[in-house]
Amino acid sequence: MAEVSLQGVHKLFGSVTAVEDFNLSIGSSEFVVFVGPSGCGKSTTLRMLAGLEDVSSGVISIDGKPVNNVHPKDRDIAMVFQNYALYPHLNVFDNISFGLRAKRLPKDEITTRTNEAADILGLDELLKRRPGELSGGQKQRVAMGRAIVRKPKVFLFDEPLSNLDAKLRHKMRAEMKLLHQRVQTTTVYVTHDQVEAMTLADRIVIMNLGRIEQVGTPDEVYKHPASQFVASFIGSPAMNFATGTITGTGSKAALKTDSGEGISLAGCDIAEGRRIQLGFRPEHMMLAKAAKPASGHISIGAHITVIEPMGHETVLTCDAGFGEIVGKYEGEDRFTPGDAANFHIRADRLHYFDLDTGLRI
């Protein structure tokens, strides 16, 4: 267990900035997830932390000691790679114990620790097999075994579940969480899957274009996204947005969308004339019979274009005039494409973002 800190970290590849002014302190035993779209710099940051990439400027510290110039093997970290990086010519036992042999530990200790790790991950029966004879989930477990057997200060995971199918991914996610609860090692986990980020993280770091957009608990980034980017990235289906200009004030405040629709935002205190993006999540949209909303709610009318029954709920894609919006409901109502639908949304569940900066208002 160790604290990890990244202060003013920059990474340049030639003239291209991959990571810019990255500042983060990770507490001991904390599970931090870097999430963001492809090319946002999350894996590069992880690789700098691992020592696999040089830091262009800034300081990375593990347990208070700067490690910028420390070789990966001397950082006391373990990393699980996207493609598992299992050594194909070694069996599971040798794969897991490979790092211990590098440390020239006594043979007995290597055997004990390897068996211990195999036991934790349910690999006892597979120790003699080679990676080629394992399923995706088993390979994943071996990769994790290789990491935990070394009892490192920090675990680094680089999209470890992205090669698994949805069902297995869900299972491994739970196993990972269980593992962390058990070993309590400081963990940095990179993914582009916001569901993984939300379910695993103590804190999420959302990155975009090499910069941190927001750092917060899953609850914070979901309920109070710091920017329009975060709002659109976290949540599934993604948040809906309406772009327009604020008109009126107080009880007469409204959003006049760029396509001409008016959405009443009574009580909204954003200055008249300001260009904003109004955001609302599909799960907060309630189907309503009447167009007029109850007090403290806003109403959005739309025409249903696509209906996707999911079993426990139905996802509706609609044309709201100002753009496409997605809503969902769990009721018994039956719709057909082309039907009109009214959605009511509680005003305190609305999110406002400045159109120019993208920041939360």
Partner: protein, 282 residues
């Protein structure tokens, strides 16, 4: 019934294109095998019979073999060839793969220039290098030494290129994982990278070993002492000034071919794969 069906299916598959292909391959085989058959046949003939085109000798004899094994330095030459080819092959496997790995997996200034420089050595014909090699050998006192025979082949541009191509196909993550696991760069090369390119190493070993086993010009030039001769030079030494004992030459050639045949039979799978790989990667 199923046999009949299988035969029918086979006949159906024998399209005209395939028949032509098989015929060409058969003719090619005949062209390549005929000299070997004559070589083997001649080795059992007496001097008078050598120029008769019969495959089965009128009076088969083992005298040529007895002469070679008992009265020439043939076994010594075999050992010389074995030693030079083995040493040279071991060296090539070590150095070519080490350099190939470095060129494939390490990013350093001038990497491309070094690679092109190594690659460009492939374009220099051996005949052009013989004079500088000889001058070096004379200066360093390597004439009539095993080292003198072996040194030009201790590292090759082709081997470096072949190994580089193979190492490039190894995922970087394996190397990075080993790096994080705490192994030194040399240990990573030896324990992780090398075992994963065994097919390429086998191909390189076979090519290089056979190339050295049959090498003639350079061993001929760098050796004067019959005790240091390699097999091809030794065989050539059966040439008299005024006559050629073909039956002796053919017998020695037969014996010299045996180890290579053995290597081929044992490593047939690797040789074919090696040729395919060299074709694909090269």
């Amino acid at each position: 019934m199923s046999d009949v069906n299988a035969t029918m299916a086979r006949l159906e598959r024998a399209r005209p294109g395939k028949v032509i292909l098989w015929t060409l391959l058969f003719l090619g085989g005949v062209v390549m095998i005929t000299p070997i058959v004559f070589m083997a046949a001649t080795s059992f003939k007496t001097g008078q019979e050598v120029f008769e085109l019969s495959i089965i000798p009128d009076r088969p004899t083992l005298e040529n073999y007895l002469f070679i094994l008992q009265e020439s330095k043939f076994m010594r030459w075999m050992l010389n060839s074995l030693w030079v080819a083995t040493f040279s092959t071991a060296s090539v496997l070590f150095f070519d793969s080490l350099v190939g790995y470095t060129l494939a997996k390490f990013d350093f200034r001038g990497r491309q220039i070094v690679f092109i420089a190594i690659l460009s050595t492939l374009m220099i014909p051996t005949e052009m290098l013989i004079i500088p090699w000889y001058m070096m050998s004379r200066s360093f006192g390597w004439i009539d030494t095993y080292w003198g025979i072996a040194f030009p082949g201790l590292m090759t541009g082709f081997g470096t290129f072949l190994m580089r191509q193979f190492f490039m196909s190894l995922p970087d993550e394996l190397i990075e994982a080993a790096r994080i696991d705490g192994w030194s760069e040399f240990a990573i090369w030896w324990r992780i990278a090398m075992p994963l390119v065994i097919p390429a190493l086998s191909a390189l070993a076979i090519f290089h070993f056979l190339g050295n086993w049959t090498a003639f010009i350079w061993p001929l030039i760098v050796t004067n002492d019959p005790d240091i001769y390699t097999i091809p030079v030794g065989i050539a030494s059966f040439n008299g000034e005024f006559q050629m004992d073909w039956e002796i030459v053919m017998t020695a050639s037969c014996l010299a071919t045996l180890p290579t045949l053995l290597v081929f039979l044992l490593l047939q799978k690797f040789i074919i794969r090696g040729i395919m790989l060299a074709g694909l990667k090269g």
